[in-house]
């Protein structure tokens, strides 16, 4: 392991105390983000993407319990840090871009106020902070940034707001940017604009990005590494080529198969994954995907598989892979 990781999650377990008992939202999650890389997370609703992000930035809901594991960021475990220490990391070393640009900015404060407020730690004059904000807006492609700084969020379009959110997130030159479905709410032509802008900025600033999306095309185009999640587990992770060209976990294979964009010949009968995610408060004994898996063997519904490494940087959590490793 030569590469240095900016973030490394290992054996993370998070549950939610609910009326129906403990809801095991994340189980033994492993993930690493090499310095300067873009890691994509894919998975369908209920796979635990949001919980994982919240665990990283320390903003889990009140009824969440982290039972074990570690989240090592730049050499120290975030789970061991106090609320104060975490706050010092948020917005400086780790920042975030959220899904819905229409609601993620404060509606009654001007863009300028919000951009200057988040620089509260820096001992520079307000004029300097303002200048820095203008420069940042310029870099994300907001025309006429100087005067638009006085505008309020509702005066911008959705695409513009997402650019502003990116500008705010990158202003402090963080080591890690977490982007939670940043383009889902946008139209296709804007999505392309934002993704390109994000990649250019990442190149010039040299930060790492954790990019969450359910859009396989975007993941393939933007990311270096991909993490596939299902029902609160990381079922497979590897380089983007591993995942798209040599998927090992049956779920990954199915997910790729289902994407109509990957089906070259036009067909009227699209593949599906029958069944549903099991109840996370009442987990099955064996593999989490066993119910819906068409390559299930006897052991699958008895024993939960452990993670096995297939090749460098390519892991999967499946009995099949452990039995017959593919090179």
């Amino acid at each position: 392991m030569a590469t240095e990781n900016v973030l490394e999650i290992s054996k993370l377990n998070v549950g939610f105390a609910t009326e129906r008992g403990m809801l095991k939202a994340l189980r033994d999650v492993d993930l690493s983000i090499p310095v300067g890389s873009i890691v994509g997370v894919v998975g369908e609703s209920g796979c635990g993407k949001s919980t994982m992000i919240n665990a990283i930035i320390g903003l889990l809901a009140h009824n969440a319990r982290v039972s074990s594991g570690s989240i090592v960021f730049e050499g120290s475990d975030l789970l061991q840090k106090s609320e104060r220490e975490l706050r010092d990391i948020r917005g400086t070393r780790i920042s975030m871009v959220f899904q819905d640009p229409m609601v993620s900015l404060n509606p009654v404060l001007s863009i300028g106020t919000q951009m200057i407020d988040i620089q509260y730690r820096d001992a520079i004059s307000k004029a300097q902070k303002r200048a820095r904000s203008i420069e940042m807006l310029n870099r994300v492609g907001i025309p006429d940034p100087e005067s638009r700084l006085n505008n309020y969020p509702h005066q911008f379009s959705g695409g513009m707001r997402q650019r502003i959110a990116i500008a705010m997130a990158l202003q402090a030159e963080p080591a890690l940017l977490i982007a939670d479905e940043p383009t889902t709410a946008l139209d296709a032509t804007l999505e392309v604009q934002i993704i390109h802008r994000l990649r250019d900025l990442q190149h010039s600033m040299g930060c790492s990005i954790l990019f969450i999306s359910h859009h396989l095309g975007v993941i393939a185009e933007l990311c270096d590494y991909v993490v596939v999640m299902y029902g609160g587990e990381v079922v497979e992770r590897g380089t983007v080529r591993d995942i798209f060209h040599r998927p090992a976990h049956p779920y990954t294979c199915k997910l790729l198969e289902c994407d109509p964009a990957r089906i070259v010949e036009t067909t009227r009968s699209l593949p599906t994954i029958p069944g549903e995610i099991p109840d996370l408060a009442n987990l099955p004994r064996g593999c989490i995907f066993a119910d819906r898996c068409d390559r299930k063997i006897d052991i699958c519904s008895e024993v939960a598989p452990s993670t096995s490494e297939l090749a460098g940087h390519h892991w999967t959590r499946c009995h099949l892979a452990a039995a017959e490793p593919t090179a």
Binding site: I57, G91, M96, N106, V108, D117, Q155
Partner: protein, 314 residues
């Protein structure tokens, strides 16, 4: 911006006009002769004729309403037919006492209620929140006149700390203020509860919104988040409620002024009702209605100043 202001003020004026017309039409809904209703059955026929003529009751109703509104717009509320005194003089003599009472009441309610609500929201579901919740709901539940009666009983009759009756000797400010304390306490108490509950509820609502998560994700200090990012939004419904509150406190003032035998517009109306002095009743109801409309209008305008989303684009 100015267009919104203009629209809102015009709406306020329109509301007053409709309200006055409704009030005026009510006289005609009474079965029988309105003059007899106003003066009572024992008034002399000459007086009746005189009043009918003076009030223009011989015109058709819409004409009467237009004439009446015209007079009111010029600031003429009519004449007290018994005392032969202008209603304006009578009402505006009493009005300041009520306004001081209402402002003192809503003032202390805001000073206590808003921080209490913030505290509840910040420490939600804690013991502080629970106690504050019980206190505020209890404050809301106890009617003003019962508060007034009990505070007379406790502070004036039993403990003899504060004066119970009147508005002071009219000479010293200190005496006026000491006479204001109990009435203001009585009218404001329920509003402590209202404001605390509303501030808590709207703060909790705003705290659940996505942009607060953004602020947290940028590591802003909790103080900045609560007082700048949350309160600025959560205060908007409170401003509206305070605007309404001033009008509702005018109602409560009636009870308070009677229990404490204070001068004021509430007492004036009460006395006018018991002596069936209709012009004075009409004049005072009208003035209080206008006050109500003015306070809600101001609240809306303040809201527009605080909330950029309400400002129309250029």
């Amino acid at each position: 911006m100015w267009l919104y202001f203009l629209k809102r003020v015009l709406l306020g004026i329109l509301i007053v006009v409709v309200a006055v017309s409704l009030l005026y039409s009510m006289i005609h809904m009474v079965p029988g002769d309105p003059v007899k209703t106003i003066l009572g059955p024992r008034a002399s026929p000459e007086l009746q004729a005189q009043i009918r003529d003076k009030m223009g009751l011989n015109d058709p109703l819409p004409v009467q309403i237009v004439k009446f509104i015209g007079r009111v717009a010029q600031g003429d509320l009519g004449e007290d037919v018994f005392k032969r005194k202008s209603v304006n003089t009578i009402v505006f003599e009493q009005l300041p006492h009520t306004i001081y009472l209402v402002l003192a009441g809503i003032g202390w309610a805001m000073l206590v209620g808003i921080p209490l609500g913030c505290l509840s929201a910040i420490y939600r579901y804690s013991i502080i929140d629970r106690i504050a919740g019980i206190l505020s709901v209890s404050c809301i539940a106890i009617p003003t006149f019962v508060v007034a009666l009990y505070s007379v009983l406790l502070f004036a009759v039993t403990l003899k700390w504060l004066p119970a009756i009147g508005a002071g000797d009219g000479e010293s400010l200190g005496s006026y203020i000491s006479h204001l304390i109990l009435p203001a306490f009585a009218v404001g108490l329920g509003w402590v509860g209202y404001l605390a509950r509303l501030v808590r509820a709207s703060m909790l609502e705003v705290m659940g919104e996505a942009h607060v998560r953004t602020a947290r994700a940028f590591g802003l200090p909790e103080r900045t988040i609560v007082f700048k990012y949350v309160l600025r939004l959560a205060i908007l419904p409170t401003i509206t409620l305070v605007g309404m509150g001033i009008g509702i406190l005018l109602s409560s003032a009636v009870f308070t002024e009677i229990v404490f035998a204070r001068p004021g517009i509430g007492r004036l109306i009460y006395d006018a009702v018991t002596s069936r002095n209709y012009p004075v009743v009409m004049g005072s109801v009208l003035v209080t209605t206008v006050l109500f409309v003015i306070s809600t209008t101001i609240a809306d305008l303040v809201n527009a100043l605080v909330d950029p989303r309400l400002r129309p684009e250029k």
